[in-house]
Symmetry: C2
Subunit: 231 residues, 2 copies
DNA sequence: CGCACGTTTCGGCGGCGGCCGAACGATCCG
DNA sequence: CGGATCGTTCGGCCGCCGCCGAAACGTGCG
């Protein structure tokens, strides 16, 4: 039976420690075993075993480099799968309110695997929809104008990507949807390369630089009104 | 931590019996507990317990009707999630060749949750792409002509659906992709209503009727050349 | 060349959860 | 109203798997 394959792959994510590690890895970067052990609050030995299982399942890959072993998500499709699963989990969460300072600091702008999330990510979705760059009629589609504007900003929309250009993404700290998919990934890459934003010290943190005002304005995001928390 | 929510939802699918039940339910219809127990080869009592867990997790819903309890997938999004997961499982399966007669009979035409699969499903994808009704540039999109043709056939494309109109779907018996998403779901509904196809006796079986020739021809599928197995 | 640090392997412990059969409950039918 | 059929609940058994600390391994650095 093929059916056991499904159970096997689900079982890999079914452990709290492994789940925590995968969620951490959604920042798209490579973590060491030690770091992963720390965030999951387990012994390194245990973390190492978990990584082995994740590798066998094709979720992550191990990169040996000197005496360190780096671990990262194997494939964008894996990231989407994890997000998809997390999204369902989120949907039926009684959910207490989020609290920690660490999370608060990440609320404004951060990455979600390979695209922007946080309030900035949410604003991007709202802005692009308001300007008619994205259509929400059935699923999400990039309009002709949307394509023009992104291209004008130097964002390279890979034509041969397998995943859709746009999808709704609801990551695990933010309650509202932001934009995932190929186009937002390309946008983040462009934003980093062009110095509109840069990575902060915390894993998923993003700092917005002055140069971001113009390009993000073109996407319907007014950074000035966004900068300060609403409350 | 929210992270445990991910593990919890994964844990629900992490059991072989529950996975088998979910896969069976992907035919989109309501099954009784007894039937589910039989396909999963477990005692009814155990199956009942599993259904309870699946309900609590929001994957399926229980419909009491007389002395029977029917179970079905709660939501198209759940079906997509399961398919997504199964797809990843499939991707890294050493995979023996499929054999059983039962599967062979379903190869030609069957449903995959709420849309067409099997060789017919695959041909539909190929045909619509060949006719320029579907564009595969980046992700999958329905072209203007595609929309016209479907509408002309009486297929109602719900504008307010949340899921995308088209997505690639690779179900667990077929190796090649077929079309999933809102549009193919609407197409199947129309095909059943209009008498182009009808449901067979096996759970996922679909029988193609003569009236199908014309509408499917418009979608680039030549049923005559497809009818007989290639080997 | 040896120590230190990061990682992996091993052995053993403990708990969770899936499994069944039996008893109970509910519903339909004669 | 009784017997048949389906489902659910309960109790108890068993195996799997996540956990840790200790020890082995390998790489870089002094």
């Amino acid at each position: 039976m093929e059916t056991i394959a499904l159970a096997e792959v689900a079982a890999v994510l079914a452990d709290p420690s492994r789940a925590a590690m995968c969620l951490a890895l959604l920042d798209g970067r490579a973590w060491t075993i030690g770091e992963l052990a720390a965030t999951a609050r387990i012994a390194v030995s245990t973390a190492s075993e978990h990584v082995t299982r994740l590798v066998d399942a094709g979720f992550v890959e191990r990169l040996k480099q000197g005496r360190h072993a780096y671990v990262r998500i194997a494939d964008p499709r894996v990231a989407e799968l994890i997000e998809h699963l997390a999204q369902h989990a989120d949907r039926r969460a009684p959910t207490g309110l989020r609290s920690s300072v660490r999370v608060r600091k990440l609320e404004f702008a951060r990455t979600c695997y390979d695209h922007l999330a946080g309030r900035l990510g949410v604003a991007l979705r709202t802005g692009m929809v308001a300007r008619g760059l994205v259509d929400t009629g059935a699923g999400l589609t990039l309009t002709g104008r949307g394509r023009e504007v992104l291209t004008g900003l130097g964002v390279e929309l890979g034509v041969r990507e397998r995943r859709p250009l746009l999808r709704d993404c609801l990551d695990w700290t933010e309650r509202r949807e932001h934009l995932g998919g190929g186009a937002p990934a390309a946008l983040l890459a462009r934003a980093l390369a062009a110095g509109w934003v840069e990575r902060g010290h915390q894993p998923r943190a993003i700092r917005v630089l002055p140069a971001a005002a113009e390009p993000f304005g073109a996407l319907g995001v007014d950074l000035d009104t966004l900068e300060e928390p609403a409350f």
